[in-house]
């Protein structure tokens, strides 16, 4: 019998693939920015390849992500209303401001990194242009540091926000799962922050894969992947098994766990020990795993409503 007696059941999924990719890109942007800015702030030598790669990936990634988000709106051309009608009780409303500030900072930072690369001769320019770059660089030293520091804060904000956006939906038992059962401490912001750091770092390494010494980054990546695996075990133990079943089982076990975490984990360790450059395959898998993770979380939370 027709279960609705006349009216078709329309069980629409409100947030689909575009939102999953947006959450992923926002994470990559945050993680790539952190990789670049922290190296830049803590290291002494001018902008290395990793710094440049991370600094350029961040704005590109967040801007594409925002474009997808706007495109997913029922009324794309009214997106500006999000800036003028504020609801402080809404995580999304607060997130709009965090992400806008992060986007602006990431664009400025990419420009400053470009300028200082030009000034230190890492990019080939005409002599005149290089001189201009050098003089801009000298004048923007203070600004450079300030943008990096504030950028770090907003990059962390952006990456965690993507988790809070989902975890704040208190009526969604999957998204709002608490961390280790502690009421009031949501799980997803932690998972998405770690995944953002890991995928952002991986993306930055892809852009600098032929650099000589990436060992430190690889070691950080090993730690992040291990952390993410632990968090997934925690998630698995915290929610009903149904969320990991059905159509989503393959996505989770094959995509998120195997391709995204276990294989890269083993390969990075192997690469570090044998001094082999496996950055391209390993980092690509980590990045892909980040996409799978967002898809899994976004869909699993809506499939059982």
């Amino acid at each position: 019998m027709d279960v609705t007696w006349g009216a078709g059941v329309s069980h629409e999924i409100a947030w689909g693939g575009l939102i999953a990719i947006y959450l992923f890109l926002a994470g990559v942007a945050g993680g790539a920015f952190l990789t670049a800015a922290l190296t830049d702030l803590l290291g002494k030598k001018g902008p290395s390849k990793v710094v440049r790669s991370g600094a350029y990936i961040a704005p590109v990634s967040i801007i594409i992500g925002l474009a997808l988000l706007v495109f997913d709106l029922g009324r794309p051309f009214s997106f500006w209303k999000l800036l003028f009608n504020v609801n402080f009780g809404s995580v999304m409303s607060i997130g709009v401001f965090i992400i806008s500030i992060f986007t602006a900072l990431s664009v400025v930072y990419a420009y400053l990194i470009w300028v200082s690369s030009a000034a230190s001769g890492k990019i080939h320019l005409t002599t005149g242009a290089a001189q201009t770059a050098a003089s801009v660089e000298v004048r923007s030293q203070g600004l450079h540091k300030a943008v990096a520091i504030f950028g770090v804060v907003f990059a962390v904000g952006t990456a965690t926000y993507t988790g809070f956006l989902l975890s704040a939906v208190s009526t969604n038992v999957f998204w709002s799962t608490p961390l280790l059962g502690i009421q009031g401490v949501p799980f997803l912001p932690f998972l998405f922050l770690v995944s953002a750091l890991s995928t952002g770092l991986a993306a930055a390494m892809i852009g600098a894969f032929d650099s000589k010494d990436l060992t430190l980054y690889k070691k950080v990546d090993i730690v992040l992947i291990a952390l993410e695996l632990i968090l997934l075990v925690v998630l698995y133990a915290s929610v009903k098994p149904v969320f990991f079943g059905g159509n989503l089982a393959t996505l989770f076990w094959l995509g998120v766990v195997l391709i995204g975490l276990l294989v890269p984990f083993v390969l990075t360790i192997y690469g570090v020990m044998r001094h082999k450059n496996l950055v391209l395959p390993v980092s690509s898998m980590v990045v892909l795993g980040g996409v799978f993770l967002r898809y899994f979380i976004v869909y699993a939370g809506q499939i059982l409503r």
């Binding site: 007696w5 009216a7 329309s10 009324r75 009214s78 209303k81 504020v86 409303s93 939370g301």
Partner: protein, 190 residues
């Protein structure tokens, strides 16, 4: 809910009286010009379950539950979803950007993205078109089985208040703490 709300409109659904005729579904489509394939209310069948002589089947009207603690209002980034002066949850079409956050938050699957406007849409208790003029919502007026009641529960003299005082009612998914204003009565459901 807005503590200054003047009224608290509520609907009572006597499930046993519903024939499943869908007059409410259709009346709502007429009244609210709801796009093809979309519904602000519908009354799906539950069952038939069990085997003779214990077969059970009834119809359960679904629509916005007019939560007094509404998750959709809480998450809405633009304040488009709001409580109006009479405590009714409405969507301000001018402010809504169609982000669908409210749709992820509503535990009753009451909302949809209107195909024509691109904004969030749902039952309004026919607030603007009927209730604010002293009429009942279209579904209530049209109900063939007399299964629907509507009124102000803050007014002890109203039909709904008097009914609620005498009968056992349930709200859907009380575990979410949304305090719905739509009450279901399962008395006599076999």
């Amino acid at each position: 809910m807005d503590a200054l709300a003047k009224k608290h409109y509520a609907m009572v659904i006597q499930v046993a009286k519903c024939l499943g005729c869908q007059a409410c579904t259709v009346a709502c489509k007429f009244q609210n010009h709801v796009p093809e394939g979309q519904y602000r209310t519908k009354t799906p069948v539950v069952g038939p379950n069990g085997t003779y002589p214990n077969v059970r089947m009834y119809f359960e009207k679904e629509a916005c539950q007019m939560c007094q603690v509404a998750p959709c209002v809480q998450v809405c980034p633009t304040t488009a979803s709001h409580y109006n002066e009479d405590g009714v949850v409405l969507v301000d079409v001018d402010k809504c950007v169609g982000c669908k956050y409210c749709m992820t938050a509503c535990p009753y699957d009451a909302r949809f993205l209107n195909k024509e406007t691109g904004t969030a849409d749902k039952c309004t208790f026919c607030y603007e078109t009927r209730v604010s003029k002293g009429e009942k919502p279209a579904c209530v007026s049209t109900c063939v089985g007399g299964a629907l009641m509507f009124g102000d529960v803050d007014d002890p003299q109203s039909d709904v208040s008097q009914f609620l005082a005498k009968h056992k009612t349930e709200v859907r998914k009380p575990e979410f703490g949304t305090r719905p204003s739509v009450y279901y009565v399962y008395e006599g459901v076999k």
